[in-house]
Protein backbone atom coordinates (compact mmCIF):
# COMPACT_ATOMS: atom_id res chain seq x y z
CA UNK A 1 0.00 0.00 0.00
CA UNK A 2 2.96 2.31 0.11
CA UNK A 3 4.02 1.92 -3.49
CA UNK A 4 3.54 4.29 -6.38
CA UNK A 5 0.56 3.53 -8.62
CA UNK A 6 1.54 0.65 -10.82
CA UNK A 7 -0.56 1.72 -13.77
CA UNK A 8 1.44 4.89 -14.13
CA UNK A 9 4.93 3.48 -14.13
CA UNK A 10 5.19 1.37 -17.28
CA UNK A 11 5.99 2.88 -20.66
CA UNK A 12 5.92 6.50 -19.55
CA UNK A 13 8.76 5.95 -17.12
CA UNK A 14 10.79 4.02 -19.67
CA UNK A 15 10.34 6.72 -22.26
CA UNK A 16 11.40 9.33 -19.77
CA UNK A 17 14.62 7.55 -19.00
CA UNK A 18 15.64 7.89 -22.63
CA UNK A 19 14.59 11.49 -22.70
CA UNK A 20 17.00 12.59 -19.97
CA UNK A 21 19.11 15.23 -21.61
CA UNK A 22 22.75 14.30 -22.00
CA UNK A 23 24.75 16.18 -19.43
CA UNK A 24 27.59 18.12 -20.90
CA UNK A 25 30.76 17.68 -18.89
CA UNK A 26 31.77 20.86 -17.20
CA UNK A 27 34.77 21.86 -15.17
CA UNK A 28 34.58 20.95 -11.50
CA UNK A 29 33.97 23.86 -9.21
CA UNK A 30 37.04 23.14 -7.10
CA UNK A 31 37.50 20.98 -4.00
CA UNK A 32 36.99 22.56 -0.56
CA UNK A 33 34.11 25.03 -1.11
CA UNK A 34 32.21 22.45 -3.17
CA UNK A 35 32.23 20.09 -0.21
CA UNK A 36 30.72 22.72 2.01
CA UNK A 37 28.19 23.64 -0.67
CA UNK A 38 27.18 20.00 -0.84
CA UNK A 39 26.52 19.97 2.88
CA UNK A 40 24.25 22.97 2.49
CA UNK A 41 22.38 21.55 -0.50
CA UNK A 42 19.61 19.65 1.34
CA UNK A 43 18.90 22.70 3.48
CA UNK A 44 18.50 24.87 0.39
CA UNK A 45 16.06 22.39 -1.13
CA UNK A 46 14.08 22.22 2.11
CA UNK A 47 14.04 25.95 2.79
CA UNK A 48 10.72 26.70 1.07
CA UNK A 49 8.88 23.43 1.86
CA UNK A 50 9.72 23.50 5.55
CA UNK A 51 9.17 27.26 5.67
CA UNK A 52 5.65 26.84 4.30
CA UNK A 53 4.98 23.86 6.54
CA UNK A 54 5.89 25.89 9.62
CA UNK A 55 4.12 29.04 8.45
CA UNK A 56 0.86 27.41 7.38
CA UNK A 57 0.55 24.42 9.70
CA UNK A 58 2.62 24.68 12.86
CA UNK A 59 2.45 28.41 13.55
CA UNK A 60 -1.37 28.35 13.17
CA UNK A 61 -1.67 25.35 15.50
CA UNK A 62 0.43 27.06 18.18
CA UNK A 63 -1.36 30.39 17.70
CA UNK A 64 -4.72 28.68 17.85
CA UNK A 65 -3.91 27.22 21.29
CA UNK A 66 -2.80 30.66 22.43
CA UNK A 67 -5.88 32.46 21.04
CA UNK A 68 -8.12 29.88 22.69
CA UNK A 69 -7.12 31.19 26.11
CA UNK A 70 -7.84 34.83 25.20
CA UNK A 71 -10.90 36.94 24.49
CA UNK A 72 -9.46 38.19 21.19
CA UNK A 73 -11.92 39.49 18.59
CA UNK A 74 -9.52 39.20 15.67
CA UNK A 75 -8.86 42.93 15.31
CA UNK A 76 -7.89 44.32 18.69
CA UNK A 77 -4.21 44.96 19.41
CA UNK A 78 -4.48 43.49 22.88
CA UNK A 79 -5.48 39.96 23.72
CA UNK A 80 -6.65 39.43 27.30
CA UNK A 81 -6.01 36.09 28.91
CA UNK A 82 -9.23 34.52 30.12
CA UNK A 83 -7.96 31.09 31.16
CA UNK A 84 -10.33 28.24 30.42
CA UNK A 85 -13.45 30.43 30.02
CA UNK A 86 -13.71 29.71 26.29
CA UNK A 87 -13.49 25.98 26.86
CA UNK A 88 -16.16 26.16 29.54
CA UNK A 89 -18.38 27.96 27.05
CA UNK A 90 -17.69 25.37 24.35
CA UNK A 91 -19.00 22.61 26.58
CA UNK A 92 -21.83 24.48 28.34
CA UNK A 93 -23.56 26.61 25.70
CA UNK A 94 -26.30 24.30 24.36
CA UNK A 95 -25.82 25.69 20.85
CA UNK A 96 -22.18 24.60 20.96
CA UNK A 97 -22.94 21.19 22.41
CA UNK A 98 -25.53 20.56 19.71
CA UNK A 99 -22.93 20.58 16.94
CA UNK A 100 -21.24 17.58 18.56
CA UNK A 101 -24.52 15.70 18.34
CA UNK A 102 -24.97 16.71 14.71
CA UNK A 103 -21.61 15.05 13.97
CA UNK A 104 -23.04 11.75 15.18
CA UNK A 105 -25.43 11.63 12.22
CA UNK A 106 -22.45 11.79 9.91
CA UNK A 107 -20.52 9.22 11.95
CA UNK A 108 -23.43 6.80 11.51
CA UNK A 109 -23.51 7.82 7.86
CA UNK A 110 -19.84 6.94 7.49
CA UNK A 111 -20.53 3.44 8.81
CA UNK A 112 -23.33 3.00 6.30
CA UNK A 113 -20.95 4.27 3.66
CA UNK A 114 -18.25 1.76 4.63
CA UNK A 115 -20.74 -1.12 4.61
CA UNK A 116 -22.02 -0.18 1.15
CA UNK A 117 -18.48 0.31 -0.14
CA UNK A 118 -17.40 -3.05 1.23
CA UNK A 119 -20.40 -4.79 -0.31
CA UNK A 120 -19.88 -3.31 -3.77
CA UNK A 121 -16.11 -3.69 -3.66
CA UNK A 122 -16.46 -7.39 -2.85
CA UNK A 123 -19.14 -7.82 -5.51
CA UNK A 124 -17.11 -6.11 -8.21
CA UNK A 125 -13.88 -7.89 -7.40
CA UNK A 126 -15.44 -11.07 -8.79
CA UNK A 127 -16.79 -11.66 -12.28
CA UNK A 128 -19.53 -9.18 -13.14
CA UNK A 129 -20.76 -7.91 -16.49
CA UNK A 130 -19.97 -4.26 -17.32
CA UNK A 131 -17.65 -4.09 -14.33
CA UNK A 132 -16.00 -0.81 -15.37
CA UNK A 133 -19.33 0.86 -15.95
CA UNK A 134 -20.60 0.03 -12.44
CA UNK A 135 -17.29 1.08 -10.97
CA UNK A 136 -17.39 4.40 -12.80
CA UNK A 137 -20.96 5.15 -11.79
CA UNK A 138 -20.30 4.42 -8.13
CA UNK A 139 -17.09 6.45 -8.00
CA UNK A 140 -18.10 9.49 -10.02
CA UNK A 141 -20.04 11.41 -7.32
CA UNK A 142 -16.79 11.75 -5.36
CA UNK A 143 -15.35 13.90 -8.16
CA UNK A 144 -18.24 16.38 -8.18
CA UNK A 145 -17.86 19.77 -6.56
CA UNK A 146 -19.43 19.93 -3.10
CA UNK A 147 -21.47 23.03 -3.95
CA UNK A 148 -22.78 21.31 -7.08
CA UNK A 149 -23.76 18.29 -4.98
CA UNK A 150 -25.62 20.55 -2.56
CA UNK A 151 -27.55 22.14 -5.44
CA UNK A 152 -28.18 18.79 -7.16
CA UNK A 153 -29.86 17.54 -4.01
CA UNK A 154 -31.72 20.76 -3.30
CA UNK A 155 -33.23 20.30 -6.73
CA UNK A 156 -33.87 16.61 -6.15
CA UNK A 157 -35.35 16.96 -2.66
CA UNK A 158 -37.37 20.17 -2.93
CA UNK A 159 -41.13 19.80 -2.47
CA UNK A 160 -42.50 18.30 -5.67
CA UNK A 161 -38.97 17.51 -6.81
CA UNK A 162 -37.49 14.28 -8.13
CA UNK A 163 -37.69 12.19 -4.98
CA UNK A 164 -41.27 13.24 -4.16
CA UNK A 165 -42.35 12.45 -7.71
CA UNK A 166 -40.76 9.01 -7.59
CA UNK A 167 -42.41 8.27 -4.25
CA UNK A 168 -45.77 9.42 -5.59
CA UNK A 169 -45.46 7.22 -8.69
CA UNK A 170 -44.61 4.29 -6.45
CA UNK A 171 -47.72 4.99 -4.37
CA UNK A 172 -45.67 5.84 -1.30
CA UNK A 173 -47.12 9.33 -0.80
CA UNK A 174 -47.02 8.80 2.96
CA UNK A 175 -43.23 8.90 2.95
CA UNK A 176 -43.04 12.39 1.50
CA UNK A 177 -41.40 14.91 3.84
CA UNK A 178 -39.89 18.37 3.90
CA UNK A 179 -36.53 16.70 3.39
CA UNK A 180 -34.31 19.60 4.35
CA UNK A 181 -36.91 21.78 6.07
CA UNK A 182 -38.12 19.46 8.81
CA UNK A 183 -35.70 19.62 11.77
CA UNK A 184 -36.59 16.05 12.73
CA UNK A 185 -35.18 14.59 9.55
CA UNK A 186 -32.95 17.29 8.03
CA UNK A 187 -29.81 15.76 9.50
CA UNK A 188 -30.69 12.30 8.19
CA UNK A 189 -31.17 13.83 4.76
CA UNK A 190 -27.85 15.66 4.83
CA UNK A 191 -25.96 12.64 6.15
CA UNK A 192 -27.46 10.56 3.33
CA UNK A 193 -26.23 13.10 0.79
CA UNK A 194 -22.78 12.74 2.36
CA UNK A 195 -23.03 8.96 1.97
CA UNK A 196 -23.95 9.48 -1.69
CA UNK A 197 -20.93 11.69 -2.13
CA UNK A 198 -18.24 9.63 -0.40
CA UNK A 199 -19.20 5.98 -0.89
CA UNK A 200 -17.34 5.95 -4.21
CA UNK A 201 -13.99 6.90 -2.70
CA UNK A 202 -14.24 4.30 0.05
CA UNK A 203 -15.36 1.77 -2.54
CA UNK A 204 -12.37 2.42 -4.80
CA UNK A 205 -9.95 2.19 -1.86
CA UNK A 206 -11.47 -1.14 -0.80
CA UNK A 207 -11.56 -2.44 -4.35
CA UNK A 208 -7.87 -1.61 -4.85
CA UNK A 209 -6.99 -3.45 -1.66
CA UNK A 210 -9.10 -6.50 -2.54
CA UNK A 211 -7.60 -6.73 -5.99
CA UNK A 212 -4.09 -6.77 -4.59
CA UNK A 213 -4.86 -10.03 -2.74
CA UNK A 214 -2.92 -12.88 -4.30
CA UNK A 215 -5.34 -15.04 -6.31
CA UNK A 216 -3.58 -18.24 -5.22
CA UNK A 217 -5.23 -17.83 -1.86
CA UNK A 218 -8.70 -18.06 -3.42
CA UNK A 219 -7.71 -21.14 -5.37
CA UNK A 220 -6.39 -22.83 -2.26
CA UNK A 221 -9.57 -21.90 -0.43
CA UNK A 222 -11.73 -23.22 -3.29
CA UNK A 223 -9.93 -26.57 -3.05
CA UNK A 224 -10.88 -26.66 0.61
CA UNK A 225 -14.50 -26.08 -0.39
CA UNK A 226 -14.83 -22.47 0.75
CA UNK A 227 -17.99 -20.59 -0.19
CA UNK A 228 -18.11 -16.94 -1.20
CA UNK A 229 -19.07 -16.07 2.33
CA UNK A 230 -16.06 -17.95 3.72
CA UNK A 231 -13.85 -16.17 1.21
CA UNK A 232 -15.17 -12.82 2.31
CA UNK A 233 -14.92 -13.50 6.00
CA UNK A 234 -11.60 -15.37 6.11
CA UNK A 235 -9.63 -13.96 3.18
CA UNK A 236 -10.92 -10.58 2.03
CA UNK A 237 -11.77 -8.94 5.32
CA UNK A 238 -8.52 -9.82 7.12
CA UNK A 239 -6.45 -8.80 4.09
CA UNK A 240 -7.92 -5.34 3.81
CA UNK A 241 -7.99 -4.54 7.52
CA UNK A 242 -5.48 -1.67 7.26
CA UNK A 243 -7.57 0.02 4.59
CA UNK A 244 -10.77 -0.48 6.58
CA UNK A 245 -8.93 1.13 9.51
CA UNK A 246 -7.94 4.06 7.34
CA UNK A 247 -11.49 4.47 6.03
CA UNK A 248 -12.60 4.48 9.65
CA UNK A 249 -10.35 7.43 10.59
CA UNK A 250 -11.22 9.29 7.41
CA UNK A 251 -14.89 8.68 8.19
CA UNK A 252 -14.77 9.98 11.75
CA UNK A 253 -12.47 12.93 11.14
CA UNK A 254 -14.56 13.72 8.05
CA UNK A 255 -17.76 13.58 10.14
CA UNK A 256 -16.31 16.07 12.59
CA UNK A 257 -15.33 18.50 9.85
CA UNK A 258 -18.44 18.42 7.64
CA UNK A 259 -19.03 21.79 6.04
CA UNK A 260 -20.08 22.10 2.42
CA UNK A 261 -23.22 19.98 2.20
CA UNK A 262 -25.11 21.50 5.17
CA UNK A 263 -23.74 24.98 4.43
CA UNK A 264 -25.04 24.93 0.87
CA UNK A 265 -28.25 23.03 1.50
CA UNK A 266 -29.59 24.54 4.71
CA UNK A 267 -27.05 27.16 5.73
CA UNK A 268 -26.95 25.38 9.08
CA UNK A 269 -30.59 26.07 9.88
CA UNK A 270 -33.16 23.53 11.17
CA UNK A 271 -30.64 22.10 13.62
CA UNK A 272 -28.11 21.12 10.97
CA UNK A 273 -25.30 23.39 12.08
CA UNK A 274 -21.96 21.56 12.19
CA UNK A 275 -18.72 22.17 14.01
CA UNK A 276 -17.05 23.97 11.13
CA UNK A 277 -20.08 26.12 10.27
CA UNK A 278 -20.29 27.23 13.88
CA UNK A 279 -16.56 27.88 14.19
CA UNK A 280 -16.55 29.99 11.03
CA UNK A 281 -19.58 31.92 12.21
CA UNK A 282 -17.94 32.62 15.58
CA UNK A 283 -14.64 33.68 14.08
CA UNK A 284 -15.77 35.74 11.13
CA UNK A 285 -19.31 36.91 11.80
CA UNK A 286 -19.40 37.30 15.54
CA UNK A 287 -15.69 38.17 15.82
CA UNK A 288 -15.04 35.91 18.77
CA UNK A 289 -11.76 34.49 17.54
CA UNK A 290 -10.78 33.29 21.01
CA UNK A 291 -13.93 31.22 21.39
CA UNK A 292 -13.74 29.95 17.81
CA UNK A 293 -10.15 28.88 18.45
CA UNK A 294 -11.23 26.92 21.48
CA UNK A 295 -13.85 25.16 19.31
CA UNK A 296 -11.18 24.40 16.73
CA UNK A 297 -8.77 23.09 19.37
CA UNK A 298 -11.48 20.75 20.66
CA UNK A 299 -12.13 19.57 17.09
CA UNK A 300 -8.42 18.99 16.50
CA UNK A 301 -8.06 17.05 19.76
CA UNK A 302 -11.05 14.87 18.84
CA UNK A 303 -9.47 14.01 15.50
CA UNK A 304 -6.13 13.22 17.15
CA UNK A 305 -7.79 10.99 19.74
CA UNK A 306 -9.69 9.09 17.06
CA UNK A 307 -6.52 8.60 15.04
CA UNK A 308 -4.65 7.41 18.10
CA UNK A 309 -7.42 4.98 19.02
CA UNK A 310 -7.52 3.62 15.52
CA UNK A 311 -3.76 2.98 15.58
CA UNK A 312 -4.24 1.05 18.84
CA UNK A 313 -7.17 -1.00 17.57
CA UNK A 314 -5.89 -1.73 14.08
CA UNK A 315 -2.12 -1.60 14.19
CA UNK A 316 -1.20 -0.48 10.72
CA UNK A 317 2.18 -1.26 9.25
CA UNK A 318 4.27 1.83 10.05
CA UNK A 319 4.24 4.41 7.30
CA UNK A 320 7.80 4.06 6.16
CA UNK A 321 9.43 7.30 5.18
CA UNK A 322 13.06 6.59 5.97
Amino acid sequence: MTTAPSGLTGPAAAAERDAVAPTTPRGRRGGGPAGRARKLTPYLFLLIPVGLLLLLTYVPVVNMFWYSFTDWDGLDKTKNLVGFDNYVEVFTDPDNVRVFLVSLYYVVGSFVQMALALYFATLLSFKVRFKNMWKGILFFPYLINGVAIGLIFLNFLKPGGGLDTVLMKAGLDGLIHQWTGDPDIANYTLASVSVWRYTGLTFVMFLGAIQSINSDIYEAAALDGATRWHEFWHIILPSIRPIVGLAFILGISGSLSVFEIPFVMTGGSNGTETFVIRTIWMAFQRNTVGLASAMAVVLLLFVLIVTWMQRKIVPEEEVDLT
Partner: protein, 273 residues
Protein backbone atom coordinates in the same frame (compact mmCIF):
# COMPACT_ATOMS: atom_id res chain seq x y z
CA UNK B 1 -31.34 -22.24 -7.90
CA UNK B 2 -29.55 -20.33 -5.15
CA UNK B 3 -26.93 -19.42 -7.73
CA UNK B 4 -29.59 -17.87 -9.94
CA UNK B 5 -31.00 -16.02 -6.96
CA UNK B 6 -27.68 -14.56 -5.81
CA UNK B 7 -26.88 -13.72 -9.43
CA UNK B 8 -30.11 -11.76 -9.73
CA UNK B 9 -29.63 -10.09 -6.35
CA UNK B 10 -26.17 -9.00 -7.45
CA UNK B 11 -27.43 -7.24 -10.55
CA UNK B 12 -30.50 -5.84 -8.84
CA UNK B 13 -28.29 -4.22 -6.20
CA UNK B 14 -26.02 -2.76 -8.86
CA UNK B 15 -28.93 -1.36 -10.82
CA UNK B 16 -30.47 0.17 -7.69
CA UNK B 17 -27.13 1.77 -6.80
CA UNK B 18 -26.77 3.12 -10.32
CA UNK B 19 -30.26 4.61 -10.28
CA UNK B 20 -29.68 6.23 -6.88
CA UNK B 21 -26.43 7.70 -8.18
CA UNK B 22 -27.60 8.82 -11.60
CA UNK B 23 -31.16 9.97 -10.99
CA UNK B 24 -30.34 13.21 -9.14
CA UNK B 25 -27.68 13.98 -11.77
CA UNK B 26 -30.01 13.21 -14.67
CA UNK B 27 -32.74 15.46 -13.32
CA UNK B 28 -30.26 18.34 -13.15
CA UNK B 29 -29.50 17.79 -16.82
CA UNK B 30 -33.23 17.69 -17.65
CA UNK B 31 -33.81 20.91 -15.72
CA UNK B 32 -30.94 22.71 -17.39
CA UNK B 33 -32.46 22.17 -20.84
CA UNK B 34 -35.96 23.38 -19.97
CA UNK B 35 -37.29 26.87 -20.47
CA UNK B 36 -38.43 28.81 -17.46
CA UNK B 37 -42.16 28.11 -18.06
CA UNK B 38 -41.47 24.52 -18.97
CA UNK B 39 -39.53 24.01 -15.72
CA UNK B 40 -42.54 25.14 -13.70
CA UNK B 41 -45.17 23.37 -15.79
CA UNK B 42 -43.60 19.93 -16.20
CA UNK B 43 -42.67 17.32 -13.59
CA UNK B 44 -39.01 16.84 -12.68
CA UNK B 45 -38.97 13.39 -14.30
CA UNK B 46 -40.30 14.68 -17.63
CA UNK B 47 -37.57 15.05 -20.23
CA UNK B 48 -37.05 18.50 -21.78
CA UNK B 49 -39.09 19.34 -24.87
CA UNK B 50 -36.07 20.51 -26.82
CA UNK B 51 -32.82 18.66 -26.08
CA UNK B 52 -30.83 21.44 -27.72
CA UNK B 53 -32.11 24.38 -25.73
CA UNK B 54 -28.83 25.81 -24.47
CA UNK B 55 -30.15 29.25 -23.50
CA UNK B 56 -29.67 28.59 -19.80
CA UNK B 57 -26.05 27.65 -20.40
CA UNK B 58 -25.37 30.84 -22.27
CA UNK B 59 -26.92 32.92 -19.48
CA UNK B 60 -25.07 31.03 -16.75
CA UNK B 61 -21.78 31.32 -18.59
CA UNK B 62 -22.20 35.07 -19.04
CA UNK B 63 -23.33 35.59 -15.45
CA UNK B 64 -19.99 34.70 -13.89
CA UNK B 65 -19.44 31.02 -14.61
CA UNK B 66 -17.17 31.87 -17.55
CA UNK B 67 -15.05 34.25 -15.50
CA UNK B 68 -14.92 31.63 -12.75
CA UNK B 69 -13.27 29.17 -15.12
CA UNK B 70 -10.54 31.69 -15.90
CA UNK B 71 -9.95 32.29 -12.18
CA UNK B 72 -9.85 28.59 -11.43
CA UNK B 73 -7.31 27.99 -14.19
CA UNK B 74 -5.05 30.81 -12.96
CA UNK B 75 -4.97 29.50 -9.41
CA UNK B 76 -4.81 25.92 -10.61
CA UNK B 77 -1.72 26.32 -12.79
CA UNK B 78 0.26 28.33 -10.25
CA UNK B 79 -0.62 26.05 -7.35
CA UNK B 80 0.09 22.83 -9.27
CA UNK B 81 3.48 24.02 -10.51
CA UNK B 82 4.37 25.15 -7.01
CA UNK B 83 3.19 21.88 -5.45
CA UNK B 84 5.27 19.84 -7.87
CA UNK B 85 8.46 21.82 -7.22
CA UNK B 86 7.95 21.84 -3.48
CA UNK B 87 7.06 18.16 -3.29
CA UNK B 88 9.89 17.09 -5.53
CA UNK B 89 12.45 19.29 -3.76
CA UNK B 90 11.40 17.86 -0.41
CA UNK B 91 11.60 14.31 -1.71
CA UNK B 92 15.00 14.95 -3.28
CA UNK B 93 16.50 16.41 -0.13
CA UNK B 94 15.07 13.72 2.15
CA UNK B 95 15.86 10.74 -0.03
CA UNK B 96 19.25 11.62 -1.49
CA UNK B 97 21.00 13.39 1.37
CA UNK B 98 21.93 12.50 4.93
CA UNK B 99 22.10 15.67 6.98
CA UNK B 100 21.70 16.95 10.49
CA UNK B 101 18.02 17.42 11.28
CA UNK B 102 16.74 15.02 8.62
CA UNK B 103 14.87 12.93 11.14
CA UNK B 104 13.29 16.02 12.65
CA UNK B 105 12.10 17.26 9.25
CA UNK B 106 10.60 13.85 8.49
CA UNK B 107 8.76 13.92 11.80
CA UNK B 108 7.45 17.42 11.12
CA UNK B 109 5.91 16.32 7.84
CA UNK B 110 4.56 13.11 9.38
CA UNK B 111 2.96 14.88 12.31
CA UNK B 112 1.39 17.48 10.03
CA UNK B 113 -0.65 14.78 8.28
CA UNK B 114 -2.65 14.45 11.49
CA UNK B 115 -3.83 18.06 11.46
CA UNK B 116 -6.88 18.56 9.24
CA UNK B 117 -6.77 21.90 7.45
CA UNK B 118 -10.26 22.97 8.46
CA UNK B 119 -9.37 22.88 12.14
CA UNK B 120 -6.57 25.44 11.92
CA UNK B 121 -8.22 27.84 9.49
CA UNK B 122 -9.25 30.28 12.22
CA UNK B 123 -5.57 30.86 12.99
CA UNK B 124 -4.26 30.46 9.44
CA UNK B 125 -6.60 33.24 8.44
CA UNK B 126 -4.71 35.65 10.72
CA UNK B 127 -1.41 34.76 9.05
CA UNK B 128 -2.71 35.17 5.51
CA UNK B 129 -4.35 38.42 6.57
CA UNK B 130 -1.10 39.56 8.22
CA UNK B 131 0.76 38.91 4.97
CA UNK B 132 -1.73 41.24 3.27
CA UNK B 133 -3.03 38.45 1.05
CA UNK B 134 -6.70 38.49 2.07
CA UNK B 135 -8.82 38.87 -1.06
CA UNK B 136 -5.96 37.93 -3.34
CA UNK B 137 -5.59 34.84 -5.51
CA UNK B 138 -2.14 34.46 -3.98
CA UNK B 139 -3.78 33.46 -0.71
CA UNK B 140 -5.29 30.42 -2.41
CA UNK B 141 -2.13 29.59 -4.31
CA UNK B 142 -0.01 29.77 -1.17
CA UNK B 143 -2.42 27.65 0.85
CA UNK B 144 -2.79 25.01 -1.86
CA UNK B 145 0.99 24.75 -2.18
CA UNK B 146 1.92 24.96 1.44
CA UNK B 147 -0.46 22.65 3.20
CA UNK B 148 -0.29 19.80 0.78
CA UNK B 149 1.32 16.97 2.68
CA UNK B 150 -0.22 14.20 0.57
CA UNK B 151 1.72 15.10 -2.57
CA UNK B 152 4.96 15.36 -0.60
CA UNK B 153 4.24 11.84 0.60
CA UNK B 154 3.66 10.55 -2.90
CA UNK B 155 6.90 12.11 -4.12
CA UNK B 156 8.93 10.78 -1.19
CA UNK B 157 7.57 7.28 -1.77
CA UNK B 158 8.32 7.45 -5.47
CA UNK B 159 11.84 8.89 -5.16
CA UNK B 160 13.13 5.57 -3.87
CA UNK B 161 12.33 3.81 -7.10
CA UNK B 162 14.60 6.16 -9.06
CA UNK B 163 18.02 4.47 -9.13
CA UNK B 164 20.74 6.44 -7.42
CA UNK B 165 23.16 5.37 -10.13
CA UNK B 166 21.45 7.89 -12.39
CA UNK B 167 22.35 10.86 -10.21
CA UNK B 168 25.78 9.42 -9.51
CA UNK B 169 26.49 9.17 -13.22
CA UNK B 170 25.44 12.78 -13.67
CA UNK B 171 27.56 13.83 -10.71
CA UNK B 172 30.62 12.22 -12.25
CA UNK B 173 29.94 14.19 -15.39
CA UNK B 174 30.09 17.30 -13.24
CA UNK B 175 26.42 18.13 -12.71
CA UNK B 176 25.59 20.00 -9.53
CA UNK B 177 22.60 19.20 -7.32
CA UNK B 178 20.30 21.75 -8.97
CA UNK B 179 21.08 20.32 -12.36
CA UNK B 180 20.58 16.77 -11.15
CA UNK B 181 17.27 17.80 -9.64
CA UNK B 182 16.01 19.50 -12.78
CA UNK B 183 17.38 17.11 -15.41
CA UNK B 184 17.38 13.72 -13.72
CA UNK B 185 14.96 13.76 -10.83
CA UNK B 186 12.06 15.80 -12.17
CA UNK B 187 11.79 13.95 -15.52
CA UNK B 188 11.94 10.61 -13.75
CA UNK B 189 9.26 11.65 -11.31
CA UNK B 190 6.75 12.04 -14.13
CA UNK B 191 4.45 9.18 -13.08
CA UNK B 192 4.30 10.59 -9.56
CA UNK B 193 3.73 14.07 -10.98
CA UNK B 194 0.82 12.73 -13.02
CA UNK B 195 -0.72 11.27 -9.86
CA UNK B 196 -0.25 14.52 -7.97
CA UNK B 197 -1.67 16.62 -10.81
CA UNK B 198 -4.78 14.43 -10.89
CA UNK B 199 -5.47 14.28 -7.15
CA UNK B 200 -4.40 17.83 -6.43
CA UNK B 201 -6.07 19.13 -9.58
CA UNK B 202 -9.44 17.65 -8.68
CA UNK B 203 -8.99 18.93 -5.13
CA UNK B 204 -8.26 22.49 -6.26
CA UNK B 205 -11.06 22.47 -8.81
CA UNK B 206 -13.57 21.43 -6.17
CA UNK B 207 -12.24 23.40 -3.21
CA UNK B 208 -14.90 25.55 -1.63
CA UNK B 209 -13.80 26.34 1.91
CA UNK B 210 -10.65 28.35 1.13
CA UNK B 211 -12.04 30.57 -1.63
CA UNK B 212 -15.11 31.09 0.50
CA UNK B 213 -12.94 32.44 3.32
CA UNK B 214 -10.36 34.39 1.36
CA UNK B 215 -11.87 35.68 -1.90
CA UNK B 216 -14.51 38.39 -1.67
CA UNK B 217 -14.12 40.11 -5.05
CA UNK B 218 -16.84 38.77 -7.41
CA UNK B 219 -14.40 38.98 -10.34
CA UNK B 220 -11.92 36.67 -8.66
CA UNK B 221 -14.21 33.86 -7.57
CA UNK B 222 -13.21 30.36 -8.67
CA UNK B 223 -15.75 27.86 -9.86
CA UNK B 224 -17.17 26.55 -6.58
CA UNK B 225 -17.74 29.88 -4.86
CA UNK B 226 -19.01 31.33 -8.12
CA UNK B 227 -21.58 28.55 -8.26
CA UNK B 228 -22.50 29.23 -4.65
CA UNK B 229 -22.97 32.95 -5.35
CA UNK B 230 -24.92 32.03 -8.45
CA UNK B 231 -27.58 30.48 -6.26
CA UNK B 232 -28.32 33.87 -4.69
CA UNK B 233 -29.68 36.03 -7.52
CA UNK B 234 -31.26 33.05 -9.34
CA UNK B 235 -32.73 31.47 -6.22
CA UNK B 236 -36.08 30.89 -7.88
CA UNK B 237 -34.83 30.16 -11.38
CA UNK B 238 -33.85 26.55 -11.02
CA UNK B 239 -33.33 25.99 -14.71
CA UNK B 240 -30.41 28.46 -14.59
CA UNK B 241 -28.95 26.93 -11.45
CA UNK B 242 -29.18 23.51 -13.10
CA UNK B 243 -27.19 24.83 -16.05
CA UNK B 244 -24.57 26.29 -13.69
CA UNK B 245 -24.23 22.92 -11.98
CA UNK B 246 -23.87 21.05 -15.28
CA UNK B 247 -21.24 23.57 -16.44
CA UNK B 248 -19.23 22.83 -13.30
CA UNK B 249 -19.50 19.07 -13.71
CA UNK B 250 -18.65 18.78 -17.43
CA UNK B 251 -14.86 19.32 -17.16
CA UNK B 252 -14.60 16.73 -14.37
CA UNK B 253 -16.77 14.27 -16.28
CA UNK B 254 -14.61 14.59 -19.41
CA UNK B 255 -11.41 14.25 -17.39
CA UNK B 256 -12.83 11.18 -15.72
CA UNK B 257 -13.90 9.53 -18.96
CA UNK B 258 -10.49 10.03 -20.53
CA UNK B 259 -8.28 9.26 -17.55
CA UNK B 260 -10.38 6.75 -15.59
CA UNK B 261 -7.64 4.28 -14.82
CA UNK B 262 -5.16 6.94 -13.73
CA UNK B 263 -7.75 8.63 -11.55
CA UNK B 264 -8.56 5.39 -9.71
CA UNK B 265 -4.86 4.67 -9.26
CA UNK B 266 -4.22 8.21 -8.09
CA UNK B 267 -6.91 8.02 -5.47
CA UNK B 268 -5.91 4.62 -4.16
CA UNK B 269 -2.28 5.66 -3.83
CA UNK B 270 -3.13 9.15 -2.62
CA UNK B 271 -5.62 8.13 0.01
CA UNK B 272 -3.46 5.39 1.41
CA UNK B 273 -0.31 7.50 1.14
Amino acid sequence: MTKLLTGTAKYVSLVVAAVVTLLPLGLILFGSLKTSQEFLATGPLDPPENWFNFDNYVTAFNQGMGMAFVNTILVFVAAIVGTIFIGAATAYALDRFRFLGRGAVLKLFLLATLVPGVTTQVATFQIINGLGLYGSRWALILLFMGTDIVSIYIFVQFMRSIPRSLDEAAMIEGAGPVRIFLQIILPNLKPAIATVVIIKGIGIYNEFFLPFLYINDPDKLPISTALFKFMGPWGSQWELICAGVVITIIPILLLFLFLQRYIYNGFTSGATK
